[in-house]
Symmetry: D2
Subunit: 168 residues, 4 copies
Amino acid sequence: MAYKYSTELLYEAAVDQLHNLGVTLDDIAEIVHLLQVDYIPDLTMGECRENIVAVLQKREVLHAVLTGLAIDDLAEKGMLPEPIQSIIASDESLYGIDEVLPLGIVNLYGTIGLTNFGYLDKKKVGIIDHLDKLKRSNVNHEHVETFADDIVAAIAAAAAARIAHTRL
Amino acid sequence: MAYKYSTELLYEAAVDQLHNLGVTLDDIAEIVHLLQVDYIPDLTMGECRENIVAVLQKREVLHAVLTGLAIDDLAEKGMLPEPIQSIIASDESLYGIDEVLPLGIVNLYGTIGLTNFGYLDKKKVGIIDHLDKLKRSNVNHEHVETFADDIVAAIAAAAAARIAHTRL
Amino acid sequence: MAYKYSTELLYEAAVDQLHNLGVTLDDIAEIVHLLQVDYIPDLTMGECRENIVAVLQKREVLHAVLTGLAIDDLAEKGMLPEPIQSIIASDESLYGIDEVLPLGIVNLYGTIGLTNFGYLDKKKVGIIDHLDKLKRSNVNHEHVETFADDIVAAIAAAAAARIAHTRL
Amino acid sequence: MAYKYSTELLYEAAVDQLHNLGVTLDDIAEIVHLLQVDYIPDLTMGECRENIVAVLQKREVLHAVLTGLAIDDLAEKGMLPEPIQSIIASDESLYGIDEVLPLGIVNLYGTIGLTNFGYLDKKKVGIIDHLDKLKRSNVNHEHVETFADDIVAAIAAAAAARIAHTRL
């Protein structure tokens, strides 16, 4: 089927939007390395990066990334209708849709993807911790990263699972 | 914890937004009845309606409903960033986030919720069929119901599962 | 890593055990064809079969198939401890683990896999209907197919989703 | 519907079988406390225990617990058919059905249940660590705890999520 936008274009848009949040593929590769190096001692950062790129070639993954980051963007601009605008902008404690949407990424990589995602959601490491702190310091909601940290965690968890399935 | 908005207010917002799409709780109750009457011959429309209301008392369910309908609303107004604006507005064939988000509703009601949701997603009945046809007839995207039909299916599937767990 | 059993051997074991239940890959291909022919009019039975074989090359899929069929086998022989022996042998109406286990298959193929599985679980077609009727006619539990019908539905749903992702 | 076994009887069977593995409800309560005390400083062990008992009143939860522990039991006795007998007895690194089955427990408690489960699966604490070490030290497979540690993690994660939904 002919799509209006190629997968390549969606990939470029996703990487650009992550960059705008201060997140590089190398930041994500560091998390992937951390998750898998205990099991695969010779794992290189290059292999982590390649697996992230492979994850980001799937159209479904890109749909999840772009949808999540679009919601953050609109919440940041105050453009969502109330009451959901306030709930998302403040990342209310029981708001969990930011953890549901990444299931569209991690489920594709089996239970290793899912459990790594759960781990990263609790134990925020590296750039995820940075995004989370940015969000929490941000009492006036000039920046909204409600979905961003979970999206980054899901990409890292998926890439880690992809490595496990190739190497273990 | 004190929320900015009470659950009651979220419920009213969700019901109002469904009404604006032409969806009443009775429309959803008809689908629930259809799903369960073979197993529970004495099932009344009133019991279906009560179970829908009970499903819509859960804050997580309301979060999913309000987030999904907000995405449709913004896509309809052309306010999402490209390329995701075009993908959602046209409900591209491999776009599946509209089926991921309702998992936040149906998973709470176990596998009966999940399988009923899968069934309704394929076999569009009643108001879901109406929303789906509205969407497909709508080539210029003045109306966007990409998430709406799946949200309605998820509410019906959850209420059907709730009845099964109470009555079977 | 060196496994005790190769993936090829697991595949042979899974296909053999399905044959013993009277289920051939062609029976499953018929269901896959039914699910996708409306979207892909030139879909052949050969293509359906190839996609089933591809699904059954994944070690995780084979793990789910072999685990589910082993539980049925032991329940049939009355070798599970009570009370779970009776619950599984009679496929009690709220027993849903036979629908949870196949999530390990269908989730790998995204929401199209999941919704097709839900559909087949409700709308039993072809060999799934046959297995289901066998189970229901079987009041003394000489044959137990509690997991078998759901496993077959999951393989068909996964293959259908794999075709959708390749062809749509 | 009249069940052959009451929910109370299933509960007693589940608690007994956990005891036989050296796992008490207090062991699980310690994990729940650990997961939630940062968010709820006045959380008591009694409240953790009550929530575990509430989780274990759901028939679907008990089905998952009893099915998982039955598989371990049969694998320990060498009664599963090959090749799945060896795969489960050795908890092969890519065998993930022991993480799929507990989804039937944690999904009922929303994304907080799911992410806590993923966290515990990676970061084994308390009795889960004990079960995991028992399994790993056990090269001849006289004891099989392939499902047991994940079942315990799922009960703890579900109880933690139940507390979060009540108290946050």
